[in-house]
């Protein structure tokens, strides 16, 4: 059961990563014309339409992460501590706090990205989604690398 939850945590994280990266790229590097190339279409999505999906995916990924976290704490982390892999353990500590910040930031993200979009807060909206994207990417990469070191 735990393996299933862990795999689901990873799969949801990938979906979240895709959605939030789409939104961030669309808002920071918008496509100016109807581009037939892959990157052009990637950038041409309607950014605001991803908001609710991102919030739901984040909450599900976070909840599953919280469920499997105790297993990491008494398994993989102890293993890495015994091998004196301080940077690996520390990376997870940083990830843990960054995703917590992201959880706290989620209501604000929703506030600024709810439709209709308020034209007075364009930069706040862009920066909030950028920060959230960086937190999600950091969490994903650290989790993925640590899983390669020692899976739960």
């Amino acid at each position: 059961m735990l393996t299933f939850l862990f795999v689901m945590h990873g799969l949801l994280a990938i979906a979240l990563l895709g959605a939030i990266t789409h939104q961030a790229v669309a808002v920071w590097l918008p496509s100016r014309s109807a581009d037939r190339h892959f990157m052009g279409r990637f950038r041409a999505v309607k950014a605001a339409s991803y908001t609710n999906a991102i919030i739901v995916l984040f909450l599900l990924t976070f909840a599953l992460g919280a469920v499997v976290y105790p297993t990491y704490r008494i398994g993989a982390r102890v293993f890495m501590e015994n091998l004196r892999m301080g940077a690996a353990v520390g990376s997870f500590e940083v990830k843990e706090h960054l995703v917590s910040f992201a959880l706290g930031l989620l209501p604000t993200y929703w506030f600024f990205w709810r439709q209709p979009l308020d034209p007075r807060h364009v930069w706040t909206r862009k920066l909030v989604v950028l920060i959230l994207t960086l937190f999600v990417w950091a969490g994903f990469l650290v989790g993925h690398i640590l899983n390669n070191i020692r899976g739960v």
């Binding site: 297993t71 301080g86 209501p107 604000t108 920066l127 909030v128």
Partner: protein, 112 residues
């Protein structure tokens, strides 16, 4: 819609309280989870061989409580006050807190 105004205040207070309770551990750690036994305890008990303890859930709860408190205060503030508050605080605070976090956690990476 009335509650929406509380969102930015919630976020800022949540993140500050979370980092403060983590940094000031064990002073603001309300409860501990022991993953080996599955037990929850108030405060930071000595778990002995039953350890290690997990404090993350407590820090999240502290952050949530602070966020709800700040959100309630924000709802009491007159609407006319909203325009005087710079919306950029919602991105400045996480950036500053992330830098602080990296500084706090630097020892894991061999930095003094």
């Amino acid at each position: 819609m009335f509650l929406l105004r509380a969102c930015p205040a919630f976020s800022v207070a949540f993140m500050i309280a979370y980092l403060a309770s983590m940094y000031l551990h064990p002073n603001f750690t309300v409860f501990t989870y022991a993953p080996r036994s599955g037990d929850w305890s108030m405060g930071v008990p000595d778990l002995g061989r039953g350890g290690p303890g997990m404090y993350w859930f407590s820090w999240l709860t502290t952050g949530f409580a602070a966020g709800v408190g700040a959100g309630c205060v924000a709802l009491l503030v007159p609407r006319s006050f909203d325009k005087r508050i710079w919306s950029g605080w919602v991105w400045v605070v996480p950036v500053v807190l992330t830098l602080l976090l990296l500084y706090i956690e630097r020892t894991w990476f061999g930095l003094k």
